[in-house]
């Protein structure tokens, strides 16, 4: 992945959609459900980030 404004803008869209899903779930159910969903998303983002860094390091060797 090339680091540029395009890539960062894509992340704005991803975080926007994720935020919207947390808002929708919170308003439709309870804040706790929204918070748990938010936690799941944060963990998924961390796993994705870890894999991306691992692959990037493997490629750059």
């Amino acid at each position: 992945m090339k680091i540029s404004e395009d890539a960062v803008f894509r992340w704005v869209l991803i975080v926007g959609v994720a935020g919207a899903s947390v808002i929708a779930l919170t308003l439709l159910t309870r804040p706790l459900v929204g918070a748990l969903w938010g936690l799941v998303l944060v963990i998924a983002a961390c796993v994705h980030g870890y894999r991306w860094v691992r692959d990037w390091r493997r490629r750059s060797r």
């Binding site: 803008f9 992340w11 975080v15 935020g19």
Partner: protein, 207 residues
């Protein structure tokens, strides 16, 4: 002996100053600089979020926000929409200059600046009408710290956008990647400010 000293002196003159910095061939130094800056900013926001969750979960009062305080969720929602749309306009500005469309870039930058200024204005107006200050409980302190920290970042982003807009109107920037870094770097910073607001809004106002 004398000639050796002269030769040595001449040699020393040639190698003054620090050695030239190593530069990556994958990423230009301006983009790398703003990315490293953003990483440090993420850590700063992380510290504030840690404080927020500590106060809310560990020191927690029964209700959050504590009675009788209320947060203007709809107004902040509109403000969120304004800031998110400003990410689209800055992206439009960059896409325009990549295609050589200078007028599009100027329009995009101007719209971004105006949307950012509107966001900041609404935020300040919200502070005036909230009915509590940073001195009111830990809730007031952390609310003003988190939103104020973000507001400061919006202000800095507006400064960067001002310089980019002035330069755009003075005929700077071109379609080649190295010729519009002055728009790309503030653009990346602006997207970061936008992402942080989405997280702040969801955490502070919604959850």
């Amino acid at each position: 002996m004398e000639s050796a000293t002269v030769a040595l002196g001449h040699h020393a003159e040639e190698h003054h100053g620090p050695p030239e910095a190593n530069q990556s061939s994958r990423i230009d130094k301006q983009t790398l600089g703003i990315l490293l800056f953003i990483v440090s900013e993420v850590m700063l926001f992380g510290a504030f979020f840690a404080s927020y969750f500590f106060l809310r979960v560990v020191v927690s009062p029964a209700a959050w926000p504590p009675h009788p305080y209320e947060l203007p969720v709809p107004v902040a929602g509109v403000n969120t929409a304004i800031l998110v749309s400003s990410s689209f306009t800055v992206h439009y500005a960059l896409e325009s200059i990549r295609r050589g469309n200078r007028e599009g870039m100027k329009l995009g930058l101007l719209l971004t600046w105006m949307l950012g200024a509107t966001f900041l204005f609404i935020q300040i107006n919200e502070y005036v009408h909230l009915g509590f200050s940073a001195r009111d409980l830990s809730f007031g302190s952390i609310f003003y710290c988190l939103t104020g920290l973000h507001g400061a970042h919006v202000f800095v982003g507006l400064m960067l956008l001002s310089f980019a807009t002035i330069r755009a109107f003075r005929g700077h920037f071109g379609p080649k990647a190295e010729d519009h870094l002055g728009v790309e770097v503030p653009g990346i910073y602006w997207h970061f400010v936008d992402v942080m607001w989405i997280i702040v809004y969801v955490t502070v106002y919604i959850l």
